[in-house]
Amino acid sequence: MFGYLLKRLIQMLLVLWVVSVVVFMMMSFTGDPVFMVVPIDATDAEIAQARRILGLDQSLIVQYWKFLTSLLQGDFGHSYVFRQPAMTLILERLPATVEMVLVAMVLAIVFAIPLGVYAGANPNGRLSRAIMSASLLGISLPGFWVGMVLIYLFAVNWGIFPSSGRGDTAEVFGFRISLVTWDGWHHIVLPAVTLSLGTMAILLRMTRAGMMEVGRQDYMKFARAKGATRRDVLYKHGLKNALIPVVTIFGLQLGDLIAFATITETIFSWPGMGKLLIDSIYRADRPVIVVYLMLVAVIFVVINFLVDLVYTLIDPRITLK
């Protein structure tokens, strides 16, 4: 187990290093941040001064070296546009994204697993077909469209939920969290539902496929013959075995949503970090983009590790080496 952890850690560092190099080099193609902060009729001298102040007067290699060395000292660099530490900018916005994603994922699981099990156990039922058609919609409808429709119906037409923003927050362990206020919940419903639909549909379809697969296995028939209830057979024998691929997908989706909830955040003006990424790309704000993507890499590596741990819990035959 220890060896496994070490291997994972080394892998992660390697991934981070590669991400930093690739992103840093790629960013030189996405535009010059100097022109985003100086007036358009700035003279050469003015541009040069801005470049010097931002530290952009050195070659990309030198800039990268500086970035890397200060990184090792725990300094993740400063945004050119906001002039604040890049990490602070991202961490400020992280809670908003994480809470929206968590609500979305909980929604997805709560609906997807039972519906998927049902549809897998009764593949030809009318209800099953209805579920499957709905899930197809969930996969194919683009998030921004769903978001706009929800805003139009629930905010503009019926006035049930607010159209945008995060609502009241309260401080919990130093983080501003909106899940502890009524107003916060009021605001999170629409974006979380929008974000969850795609994942919900995918998890549902994976669960159904898994259930249909294990449904043909002998042990399911034995269990039933032994006298176990239908419910027990489905959830205790069947679901447990159908779950491995679902957990994998769940992990990937979780990482995906945290990293790139951008569209939903933009539609609902949700002050999360996805919007920060897009703004930073528009403004060629290199340090923020690099740190952001490195953080995303960390999130993926950690989630994948957790997914592997969950495997061992579901299936004792799997061990971590």
Partner: protein, 519 residues
């Protein structure tokens, strides 16, 4: 114990808030307004950078020596009056009894400090025409210019005055988050990307604004911005999407407010002998070719089809009432759309079969910019001038078209002159390049005309503002005849608000709560 203390403090604060709130309620109805902006400001420190949302905040929090009305008239600000001591020296009499939000008195030393601070910052352009600054006494400042410069006060309207003591203590980086000015509003709270709350500054020298609390909310998506207005979450929105105008107008509860902005969308033509994207000699060195291109572009059609009527075709390079504007002269009347005439002109110049070049344009800077570029391509195709479109986001664009222009033959961009004076724009755009420092720095077409240079020199060396106007008008006439650049249209600013909100749209696009009222 620590925990207990903190809570005691909280209860105390809560009590105090309650008392204050009820006291306020008995005095007057608190007026508050929520404004939906297109983006969150990047910073609140006026010397940190230039971008619309930040600019809007700067002008709520800070003041300049010279104020600027919604119509771009310049008047007293932190300076009560000013006079010319000699051709290059200006004496500013500062307003007495002005304090910063922290209670510090505003004095001449703060002005001197701000000028020096700007010089070392990312915005040295703010004081480019200031040679020296000196505090004569606490309330008098003397500013000299490198040469006679009649419109110095206009420039100073953009230099927002900092509190020396506070700024030095706080440091540049924290100033982005913790502003301190003399402006009509103070920062109450800024939660990034969520909301920025300002409260009226009780001791404001210009009198307390009508609205006590202003909340700015960044809502990037135009459809969401409209929705937030329709649901009543915000009272005012900036940049109502063109397609939502009718929807908002259709309801009695709302009003749509429009006004032409200062932003002139223009087409710059390369006039060098050899142009990067044109094979052989550059046809655009010939005035007849430039005129042919101008005559092939139907601005009314672009306005109607691409801009949904929400643009104002530009008569000249600067808007009316600017120094340098020639009354009664209209580019569109001088060069009306005429395809036959355009073809003739091309043939006369020796290009009966037209030519091919690349048009550089943005896709996220101006309203419908990429569509305008496409429209230009199809219009010029009619006179066999074939445009290959090279369209990119603005973060790439400004670097790509940088002077000396190594990539471009034809560039679509936009210009505004918030100083109300054509001089700085002409000097940057049309002065022969590399002839004089600080001139021709964005002369992307490499236009060069000795007569033009001489006029701008004269304009920039007279202390007489009427004389300056005369010289600049002469310059305008030359440009209108020579056509190094085609003025296309002014974008229209579109706001929407609930009824009961009085919004004064400003030409400089700054939404100002201190010029606003609600019932």
């Amino acid at each position: 114990m620590k925990y207990l203390n903190r809570n005691m403090w909280r209860i105390g604060a809560l009590g105090a808030t309650f008392v204050l709130a009820s006291a306020g309620a008995t005095l007057a109805q608190e007026k508050a307004v929520t404004i939906g902006l297109t983006s969150d400001p990047s910073h609140l420190y006026p010397l940190a950078g230039e971008e619309l949302s930040s600019n809007i905040m700067y002008y709520h929090l800070y003041d300049a020596l010279v104020s600027r009305s919604p119509e771009l008239e310049f008047g007293p600000g932190l300076a009560e009056s000013w006079e010319n001591v000699d051709d290059v020296t200006w004496r500013f009499k500062l307003r007495e009894g002005v304090t910063f939000h922290n209670g510090n008195a505003f004095t001449a030393a703060d002005v001197v400090y701000t000028v020096e601070k700007a010089r070392a910052s990312i915005r040295p352009d703010l004081v480019a025409n200031v040679a020296s600054v000196k505090a004569v006494d606490d309330l008098t400042v003397e500013i000299t210019t490198p040469k006679p410069y009649a419109v110095l006060p206009n420039d100073l309207a953009e230099l927002l005055i900092l509190d020396e003591e506070y700024t030095d203590q706080t440091g540049d980086e924290k100033m982005d988050l913790m502003p301190m000015g003399t402006g009509p509003y103070m920062l109450e709270e800024w939660i990034k990307e969520e909301k920025l709350v300002l409260t009226a500054f009780g001791d404001y020298w210009g009198g307390a604004p009508a609205i006590q609390t202003v909340t700015f909310r960044p809502i990037t998506n135009p459809a969401t911005r409209t929705a937030a207005l329709l649901t009543g979450e915000v009272d005012v929105i900036q940049d109502l999407a063109v397609r939502d105008v009718d929807r908002v107008k259709s309801e009695d509860r709302f009003q749509v407010i429009t006004r032409p902005s200062l932003l002139n969308v223009v087409l710059a033509m390369d006039t060098r002998e050899k142009s990067p994207t044109i094979e052989g000699k550059n046809p655009m060195t010939d005035q007849r070719v430039r005129e042919a291109i101008a005559r092939a572009i139907d601005m009314d059609a672009i306005n109607k089809i691409v801009m949904n009527g929400l643009a104002t075709p530009s008569a000249q390079f600067v808007p009316e009432a600017h120094l340098g504007f020639v009354d009664g002269m209209d580019f569109r009347e001088m060069y009306p759309v005429d395809i036959e005439k355009a073809k003739e002109l091309l043939a006369d110049a020796g290009y009966p079969d037209g030519f091919t070049m690349t048009l550089d344009a943005t896709n996220n800077r101006y309203v419908n910019d990429a569509q305008i570029a496409q429209a230009l391509a199809s219009m010029l195709a009619k006179i066999n001038v074939n445009l290959e479109l090279n369209i990119m986001p603005k973060s790439n664009f400004w670097g790509y078209i940088r002077v000396p222009t190594e990539n471009s033959s034809l560039i679509m961009s936009g210009w505004d002159v918030p100083s109300g004076d054509a001089g700085s724009m002409y000097g940057a755009l049309f002065y022969s390049r590399d002839k004089k420092e600080g001139y021709g720095q964005v002369n992307r077409g490499s236009y060069s005309n000795a007569e033009m240079d001489a006029l701008l020199d004269k304009a920039d060396s007279t202390p007489d503002i009427a004389k300056r106007d005369e010289y600049l008008q002469e310059a305008t006439k030359i440009l209108m005849a020579d056509i190094p650049m085609i003025p296309m249209h002014y974008e229209q600013d579109v706001y929407a608000a609930r009824k009961g909100v009085t919004l004064v749209p400003r030409v400089d696009k700054f939404i100002s709560a201190f010029e606003m009222d609600v019932d």
